[in-house]
Amino acid sequence: MHPVLKLVAQRIALGLLLLLAVSVVIFAGTEALPGDVASAILGQSATPEALANLREKLGLNEPALYRYFSWLGGVLTGDLGTALTNGQDIAQAIGQRLGNTIFLAACAAVISVPLAILLGLIAARYNGKWPDKLISGITLSTISLPEFVAAYFVIYLLTQVIPIFNPVAMVFPGMGFWEKLHAVALPVIVLVLVVLAHMMRMTRAAILNVMQSAYIETAELKGLSPMQVIWKHAFPNAIAPIVSVVVLNLAYLVVGVVVVEVVFSYNALGQYLVDHVSKRDLPVVQAVGLIFAAVYIALNILADVISIVANPRLRHPR
């Protein structure tokens, strides 16, 4: 077997084990929280009888271990179950929201990744000069701003001062593609501002690191322009660290944007997860947690594979 294929297979197997461990941790964590789904549903209006009835109905009186394994059995046969709180089918509810999560992440990624790399290349080209300082200054200040502050700022600027976008970014099936893009414009802007700096700085640092090498000097001596040197010779050799940072940011765009979702009332997975955590709705928390973990693990495997493929030394081990 080709060593790369073998490595990928190993990583995937490890990833699956990791997912199993994650499901145990989520289950234990939710169990350890104060209160249960029955008391969370009934809230202030809970009477002891109502609590007992609801627990009975939801099967909360079964031992925790039994509940965990019956859930696991369901997942392995492709059945995520129904939400305890409102009886909705989890797979169906997640399906639509996962689509929205990926749509938002994709929009933000399509803009931010090329932009970050381009800005990184420019910053490296003009290392220490004013373009470098300007780019670093702006991106570092946007990453330093908490997401919700950035969000309120763009809401104020682009819905009140210059009213071109809507503050509520909900998207629905039946909306056209451009209509959807218009709806998510503000959260995309915020997410781009948040992830730009990290990727830009890594591109810049990786390129500058490579620029110290002797072969760069050779390229310069044979008369190539600085941008050509960077693009043809430095960038391909700096790709591994850049890719791992890009992938890390992609994972963040999928799993870590709940604050942005809340501020823009965007109907995606993060908000859905938070609502169900506060109601202790374990099947939903498990399912969404598992999806987030799977995305994270898969993207990390992808990063590993790309950096191996991009590096001849790792690709052809002696």
């Binding site: 209160g35 104020y156 501020v263």
Partner: protein, 529 residues
């Protein structure tokens, strides 16, 4: 003077004041009632409902865990959603009278033990079936079933017998209750086909709009129910509720015109929003109140002198000003205010009196150990700040009150009704009896002050069956005084419903029964293009 009159009439037609307020203000101008009526009619004609369009509300208080089962509605969005697709036997009007909906006539036996509801003919459910007396009985029966976990269980529990014959529903009660029609206006008691037994969350009702989209925690979309029986409701073709829990986003959506009305305007930004073009703030005194509750059966709160000391050591005006931004009124340590029928406004208002508090505190003989008040941000909006204000004003009186911050998570299961002293809120009920019976009767499930007083119980139950309003009012005054002077309730403030709408929304009438015109704003208002 005519200018003033037409100004008043426009305000009334715009829903800035009630018809009754308008009449009394007009009378103060020295206008004959005939002239006032014609001025009102002119202004109202300019307000002829316009049909059509899509009207949207942006609301706080919805989660993706919500369901359409009316028995389980507990937060603001499910309440408003159910009021759009659902219809009850009766509703309570803005001025506190019975508004007949599916029932068109109600009569009772002299002892208020047996009630007859005549069902309106030709009311249609969204699925085309006609509403019958059997549907009504099946609905009420479902709510009596403990397994339905209905929020109205406490109301229907007292019904011992229900029967339907022809278009008449007969309810027999375990003990007389003169308020029964008001109790039937509870928002959980939406009449469903077959009682909603087969599929309680189906969303099929007899209300002005049909459910088209149900995405809990995101949006709820409706279209007009063509055969709705009441032509004064259902002007827009489509209505929609968007769940926007974030305060800033909700306000921005209103300003940007993405929604036409919002609930729960943050008191901190009312002044700022007032200046915004095209937007008016709507506020109305409701029955909801924010409270600090002491368990009267646990030390040190089993000592009435200590309770009195704490009641005197709270600065109510400061709370109204700082926590409610002035949009509310002072509480008087009983859970009733002027929004209730039979309220006695001669009961003296309790004031902040540090000297008297210090005296009571001394008399209580408390050992000086810290008195812990538990609070959480979710106990009510501003609960943490209110507790801190309370502690500061109590310390002036020498009472060692300290604030303990609890997490929102698990507050209603681990702190409220468990710890002896904590912050909480009540949404209020349509009538006094229901409020007292829910939380202050010895046997009440939600007796969160553990208040048990035999004389109080006796008067409360006697008042329930008393059909003479004067006698009944006197009984409620006595109840209020008992609770005010010996209860475990510290009620510093009643909060207003503070909402905002865009100017193109017309037909708005303040309604103290619930927020957004008791959940009916989308159905009762219309859009002026």
């Amino acid at each position: 003077m005519t200018d003033q009159l037409s100004h008043l009439a426009r305000m009334a037609a715009n829903g800035r004041m009630t018809r009754r307020e308008f009449n009394s203000r007009a009378a103060a101008l020295g206008v004959t009632s005939a002239l006032a009526a014609s001025a009102f009619a002119t202004a109202a004609r300019a307000q002829e409902p316009k049909k059509g369009g899509l009207m949207r509300a942006g609301m706080q208080g919805g989660e993706s865990t919500n369901t359409l089962d009316p028995a389980l509605a507990a937060s603001e969005v499910p309440f408003a959603v159910n009021m759009i697709w659902g219809e009850m036997l009766v509703d309570v009007s803005a001025s506190g009278e019975i508004d007949y909906r599916i029932a068109e006539e109600i009569s009772s036996s002299p002892d208020a033990m047996e009630w007859k509801f005549k069902i309106r003919q030709g009311v249609e459910f969204h699925n085309g079936k006609t509403v019958t007396a059997d549907d009504v009985v099946a609905t009420l029966k479902r709510h009596t079933d403990e397994k339905a976990q209905s929020g109205a269980l406490g109301i229907v529990q007292g019904i011992t017998e229900m029967s339907a014959s022809g278009d008449m529903v007969t309810l027999k009660l375990a003990s007389g209750n003169a308020d029964l029609p008001f109790l039937m206006a509870d928002y959980h008691l939406i009449i469903q086909p077959g009682g909603g037994v087969d599929n309680p969350a189906e969303g099929i009702g007899a209300g002005p709009y049909k459910v088209v989209v149900n995405e809990p925690g995101v949006r709820h979309g409706f279209e007009k129910h063509a055969n709705y029986f009441d032509s004064t409701m259902g002007h827009a073709d489509q209505v929609e509720i968007l769940v926007i829990n974030d305060n800033t986003a909700r306000t921005a959506a209103l300003q940007a015109g993405q929604v036409h009305m919002i609930n729960r305007v943050d008191p901190k930004i009312i002044e700022l929003l007032k200046g915004a073009p095209g937007i008016t703030i709507q506020h109305v005194a409701g029955r909801g109140h924010y409270v600090f509750i002491m368990h009267v059966d646990k030390a040190p709160f089993d000592n009435n002198d200590l309770r009195m000391a704490l009641k005197l050591a709270i600065n109510r005006q400061e709370m109204v000003d700082k926590i409610l931004g002035g949009y509310g009124s002072r509480g008087n340590d009983f859970p009733i205010n002027s929004a209730y029928p039979l309220f006695d406004d001669t009961i003296p208002q309790r004031e902040y009196d540090a000297a008297a508090a210090a005296e009571f505190y001394k008399k209580s003989g408390h050992d000086g150990s810290p008195i812990e008040l538990r609070t959480a941000p979710g106990a009510f909006p501003g609960a943490v700040e209110a507790a801190q204000l309370f502690a500061a004003s109590a310390q002036v009186a020498g009472i060692p009150l300290t604030v303990k911050l609890e997490p929102d998570d698990g507050y209603w299961s681990d702190v409220w009704n468990v710890q002896p002293f904590c912050a909480s809120y009540w949404g209020g009920r349509p009538v006094q009896d229901q409020m007292y019976s829910t939380a202050y009767l010895s046997t009440a499930d939600w007796n969160d002050t553990k208040f048990k007083d035999a004389k109080f119980d006796e008067i409360l139950i006697a008042a329930r069956a008393e059909l003479d309003a004067t006698k009944r009012k006197a009984m409620y005054t006595e109840l209020a005084n008992i609770l005010r002077d010996t209860g475990g309730l510290i009620c510093p403030m009643f909060n207003d419903f503070v909402e905002a709408k865009r100017d193109e929304v017309a037909g708005w009438q303040p309604d103290p029964n619930g927020e957004l015109m008791n959940g009916r704003a989308l159905a009762k208002c219309w859009l002026n293009a």
